[in-house]
Subunit: 235 residues, 2 copies
């Protein structure tokens, strides 16, 4: 089967994805052939917690919100998934359920594989498994960091850290400073840091009056990163 121009473009798209590093073009072609492309409008639910994990995704562009809802009804925002990252890794193993909810924040495209297809690919190309392990190690590290912050830091400190992470992940330089390039409500920040939207609001208003940030409806711009870093590091 000869590779067409369109195929080549698709294969190129797979190259920068961390999950597929170290694989040759033949492997990438095979991997791509098994994938289906999904286009997701903002607020589309990709999967829900406790449902059978049947599809494994890699996000091509856009942004996905990972949440978990507790028995008491609290929502915790666990992370955002960005371009190039995998999504629904549980679906790489058979017979699992998704532990979380995934929802597109903005217009998002993702490649999708069935559990069966990804299982076969991993058996054929163990390098994918090795890469997955590496990514899981990263994720474990991030989660441990979150646990530690939640266990030892004050709310203000946690909000500062969350914002600094957000501008790392989705920061866009503007004339004034760095803007978080996605809709982000006070409620989102509260779910991200384990507090209430009221406390987030008060904190942001204070920072705004100090000239550290500029806030708007679902929008946030960091004007002076350094004092924020100081707060994140515990004054």
């Amino acid at each position: 089967m000869p590779t067409t121009v369109a195929d080549r473009a698709h294969i190129e798209a797979l190259k920068p994805i961390e999950l597929f590093t170290g694989l040759d073009e033949k492997a990438l072609a095979r991997i791509h052939a098994d994938a289906r492309l999904w286009a997701l409008r903002p607020s589309t639910v990709i999967f829900r917690q406790r449902r059978p994990a049947q599809t494994f995704y890699v996000v091509l562009d856009g942004r996905v919100r990972i949440t978990e809802i507790t028995a008491e009804g609290h929502t915790v925002l666990l992370r955002f998934i960005e371009a190039g990252q995998m999504l629904g890794a549980m679906a790489a193993l058979e017979g699992m359920t998704y532990p979380v909810n995934a929802e597109a924040v903005v217009q998002t495209r993702a490649l999708a594989w069935s559990t069966r297809a990804m299982g076969t690919l991993m058996d054929r190309y163990p390098r994918i498994m090795k890469n997955t392990m590496g990514l899981m190690v990263q994720r474990i590290g991030e989660l441990q960091q979150r646990c530690i912050e939640l266990a030892t830091q004050r709310v203000e400190q946690r909000i500062a850290r969350a914002i600094l992470r957000l501008i790392q992940q989705a920061g866009q330089r503007t004339a004034e400073g760095v803007t978080v390039n996605m809709p982000l409500s006070r409620q989102d920040l509260a779910e991200l840091t384990g507090t209430t939207l009221y406390t987030v609001s008060r904190t942001l208003t204070r920072w705004q009056s100090q000239g550290l940030v500029k806030t708007g409806r679902q929008r946030l711009t960091v004007l002076k990163p350094h004092p924020l870093v100081a707060i994140a590091d515990g004054l």
Copy 2:
């Protein structure tokens, strides 16, 4: 190379370990041949955070304490590792550093492989990688659970959950109830739940006066699990 009686016993010891499920005896023999056995006295430091990850372990018996110390000097107790579980999974990848501290709580035996040896084994037996992935998925789930508890639950609730988990992991039936079968101070419980030893002490004394638990110096017995479960579930 014929397998001796002693070798056979060692290979049997590897069989129940989740990391090695699905491997045949020949593979297990090879795996065992590469391992070194470590015996660790209580309080022995196995590795420290930020040091190069050079050794991958599987705990045969005993118990290991995983902690992380923050820049501000707070210690967070992330988990206990029990018999059959892997330890230092970061060492499966090359060029990583341990993200945490590991210390034997009681007399402990563990098998150890060098990064190089475990890398070779994983290349030769991809099943080990698949098993590792499964264990990492478990670990990610547990950490997410911890984050959610820290983000949404009150201290009392978190302490109840921690204790219930401990009697799952290290519970020993006695005439009165179930005892946590390892030394466990108020400080440990505080580091496990993100609070202070004072609050843990007050909580336990209250529960003791209600007849739910019986506490002693580094010792804890659950007399009535059901009310504790009710507290863990938020009354």
